[in-house]
Symmetry: C2
Subunit: 231 residues, 2 copies
């Protein structure tokens, strides 16, 4: 019969010479000062670097900004929590009684941190190449099916590029109003694309967020009409 | 006679098998679409990871937050520009005529980016261990003389810890006023440490910056009197 830790090492594609490293990687800070936070710091940087190198090779013509956006989708908390699920990590997390009672082992951030810590532990146990092998195994499907770069850009950037491709002037953003106290403000922003006669307003918790929402609304309006510029 | 590129490779401790990689790493985006930005993306992540691993070993008892602060001082633009100076990189940068004319080769950010790109190129040329060796050689003095962690914390954190060590309540920050238009505002914040009878006001371009400045002023007041709490 295989133990749960054996099964984890199989799924990870790495068998630890020093099993204490794996235990440390699974130990949440709620247990005490001996926990996985230092390993998480290390694993985070390794994951970033290994995914960067892989994307660099997989997408030889992609500019740096697009590589960076692609990487962000692969290393963000939601994705790492999915990886934790595939590794069936949550049942193996070692937590203090408080966190256990409040269901901390189900928290996305705790699972994501543990994945990074496990990768840090693989690096300490067997070096960069072993860590790289584990990352490529865990991310094989995602690296084989990368999202379209265009879909990753924020609405303001997409709107700007949409207009530039058509030789049209840039949109104009204006603050219509802001309401509420300084620590809890709501901003209303208006985005105007005069050449297509489109004006949309949107709200947001910051001016920047409101601008992004307004740009998204304008994009949807432009794409639904797919019209020609007003002459 | 050694060429400038030979001298650079000596200072770097790495001789390129593929010299085109080094040329690419020195080519600023002002030259055209074939430039060093992708290599910079790669090198940045390698530098972060190699420094992280080194600090992990050098400071076995430091919590993750402190490791992260230490790393930030080593990989920030100012430090990398110093490294570029030690490598005498600026004379070797390949730039477009516009950037050349405006003295771009002297710009700190361009030099820092080129250092990262060169490290990315070493990785592609010879792998992780060669890149690590170059990083450790370039950062040997800095890694051997790391700053005190306490000095790296921001003033609000330092003030909070100073009060906690003395069992005193946390400081209170209040927004006194804000002036100017929404994109160019000045905030005035007041920081009060009632238990020591200290109140300081400070200005800043954001509420957060004003709070940090006010905390710094309070810290200086507290440390200059090194007094006991008001009872």
């Amino acid at each position: 019969m295989t133990s749960p830790l054996d099964a984890l090492q199989s799924r990870l594609g790495h068998r630890f010479a020093d099993a204490d490293l794996l235990t440390a990687a699974l130990t949440h800070r709620s247990v005490g000062t001996q926990n996985n936070e230092r390993l998480e710091f290390l694993g985070d940087s390794l994951l970033n670097c290994i995914i960067a190198a892989e994307l660099f090779h997989l997408r030889p013509n992609l500019p740096e900004g697009d590589l960076s956006r692609l990487r962000a989708t692969l290393v963000r908390g939601t994705t790492l929590a999915q990886v934790a699920g595939e590794l069936e990590l949550s049942a193996l997390l070692i937590m203090g009684p408080g966190e256990l009672r409040s269901g901390g082992f189900q928290r996305e951030s705790i699972q994501a941190d543990a994945v990074e810590a496990v990768l840090g532990a693989v690096f300490l146990d067997a070096g960069f190449d072993a860590c790289r092998k584990a990352v490529l195994q865990l991310f094989a499907d995602r690296l084989g099916d990368l999202p379209e770069v265009a879909s990753l850009k924020d609405p303001k950037t997409r709107l700007q590029e949409w207009l530039q491709r058509r030789g049209q002037p840039l949109p104009v953003y204006e603050l219509v109003s802001s309401a509420g106290k300084s620590h809890d403000r709501t901003f209303t922003v208006c985005c105007t694309v005069a050449s297509f006669d489109v004006v949309e307003e949107a709200l947001g918790g910051s001016r920047k967020k409101a601008e992004q929402s307004a740009a998204q609304a304008v994009l949807e309006a432009l794409e639904s009409t797919s019209g020609e510029p007003r002459t």
